[in-house]
Every structure is written in structure tokens, then in C-alpha cells.
Amino acid sequence: MSDTQFDVNKYIRAQFFPQMWCPGCGHGTVMGALLRAIHDLGLENDDVSVVSGIGCSSRISGYLDFNTAHTMHGRALPTATGIKLANPNLKVIVPFGDGDSTAIGGNHFIHACRRNIDITAIVMNNRIYGMTGGQYSPMSGRGVKASTAPYGVPDESFDLVELAKGAGASFVARTTVYHAKEAQNTIKKAIEHKGFSVVEILSMCPTQFGRKNKAGEAPQMMEWYKDNTVPMGSKKLADNPDLIQRGVFVDDNERLEYCTAYQELVIDKVMKKG
């Protein structure tokens, strides 16, 4: 644990600041929470690898002074899996968009959950494809307006927490950019967790989602998360079941982590045999 003062400059590539995200883009808040969590954990820059896909969110890897890879759309997790398995000493963190993680990358997401490889996935969920101009994502939800859903999205969204649970993730949490401190602490716990951890952070895209859905400017969109989320199991849910729950839904330390499993069940086993 770090007891020094948090200095953002330790963690960023300052030459790229101000970053390219739009004014009020929630992704920046997530980045702040991530850096503070890393600071809280006292991790060295060299020991961290940040791997992202493609999307506004995924630009994050370029801004951070770690071992960083900006991969292909949807392929952050398998690339991160290669990095982690090749060098289990690295703390591997994968911050990526809702599209990157649940649309094109959905398969890698569920398999990373299943394998329980020690990677922290941070889904920067703005419920839209920000980068490509506001097409709907699997997280948009029915009725949302998007550039490919001028009459409203006809399909249901995933509940990412349920999906991760169903796929077997051993740490699953949800928070929002409004709850920035909570986000920081949740990410911290997730990184500490030995196994695959998923943190969904409800983020916002004022430019694409906000405008098309008359959701207001960034502060109003942040307000919405304040008003429409409650801590896990809150009593308010009884009255209003549409409220979104925040919290740590799964935190299971019993499940064998993949790199450990490979070491113990394969390498050690064959070495002992041999």
C-alpha cells in the first residue's frame, strides 16, 4: 500500500494531455479512478501492463505510462492472456469499452471469466459505440436511440454482472463514474483479487449517447447515475426494481487461478513425473 501523495504524473504520458476524449467524457473519470487504485496499491509502473482494444475507451492505454498495448477491436483479453501467461509477474489490467468487451469481444470475455486468469477487466460502459459515431451496443438497451437505431434499439441489453457471473467470473462488481471514489476502491479490490475480475463502470458519452438520447450534458448524465443506481440489495429496489445495483457481486477467492492452475496441474505435475 502506498502512503505517498497521489501524483498523476507518475502514471501518465503527459505529452498526450490534454487527452483526446470529448469534454465530459466519462472515460477520463475511469482513468483517474484506475490510477488512484494503482497508486493505493503501491504498484510500480514497470510491474503493470495495460491492454486495451479499440474504441474511445481503449485509447486509455496510450495515455498511461505502463507496458501498454492498444490491440485490435475486441482482442484485448486474449492478448492480455498471452502477456499474463507468458509473464505471470505482471499485473495485467484491461480497460475497454462496452462494445469492445461485450460485442466483438464477448467470446473472449466469457472465456476469460471461465479460465479465471488473473487479469482485471474494467468495462468502461457508456452504452454506445462512441468512437465510430454512436451506433448501439449490446449494452444500449431497448428503446435507446443510436445512429443505427433511428427508431430505437429493438434488442435487449446484457446485464454484464449476470453475464460475468454466468460465465464463472470470480470477482464481479459494478459502479459508476458518479461514484468515483467507490470506483477507485472497487478497482483496487479487483486488482488485488487473485483471479479474473470484472468491474463494470457506468461511464458516459455526452457526444454520442447524450445528444441522441436527450440525456443532457455530462453533469446531467452523471446525475442520472446518482439517481438511478443503488448499492447492492438496497431497500429502494423493492419500490423501483429498475434501479441499477452497484457493489461487489462476486468475490470468490477459492477458485483456482489459471496461471497457478497451469503451473500446478500441468508444469509441476509433469516435472515431478519426469
Binding site: G24, T29, P219
Partner: protein, 70 residues
């Protein structure tokens, strides 16, 4: 201002994009956007050092420095 503390608002004007998040959510209305659409601490004396502005700023543009005592 919180007793016995001095709070400095370090706002990086090059990085601030004027989104207004810090302004909107400051519990003490300390912050404002100026005519360049940059955040400024208009009423620094009201600041309680809660750092909510710093935590939420998407552009890492605010830092709240708190010095104990005087």
C-alpha cells in the same frame, strides 16, 4: 474552509475542457467556469477539501492540495 486546513486548488487550464462536472457537483459551489470555459475556484474559502471535484474530473485537471495547520 475546514478548520486548521489550507486548501489549494491546482487547476490545469491546459487540460480542463470545461465540461462543468466539477462545478456541478461541488457540494459548496466553490467552482465556476470562467469566460474561457475553464474551471476556476471562485470561492476557495468555502472549500471543504472533499476532493470530489478531483476524483470526478475526467481530464485529471484538478488537484486539491490540503495542508494541515497554518
Amino acid at each position: 474552509m475546514a478548520k486548521g486546513k489550507s486548501v489549494t486548488h491546482v487547476i490545469n487550464r491546459d487540460w480542463c475542457k470545461g465540461c462543468g462536472i466539477c462545478v456541478h457537483f461541488c457540494p459548496k459551489q466553490v467552482l465556476e467556469l470562467d469566460s474561457d470555459e475553464k474551471a476556476v475556484a471562485a470561492r476557495p474559502e468555502d472549500c471543504i477539501g472533499c476532493k470530489l471535484c478531483e476524483l470526478r474530473c475526467p481530464d485529471l485537471a484538478i488537484q486539491i492540495l490540503i495542508e494541515e495547520g497554518e
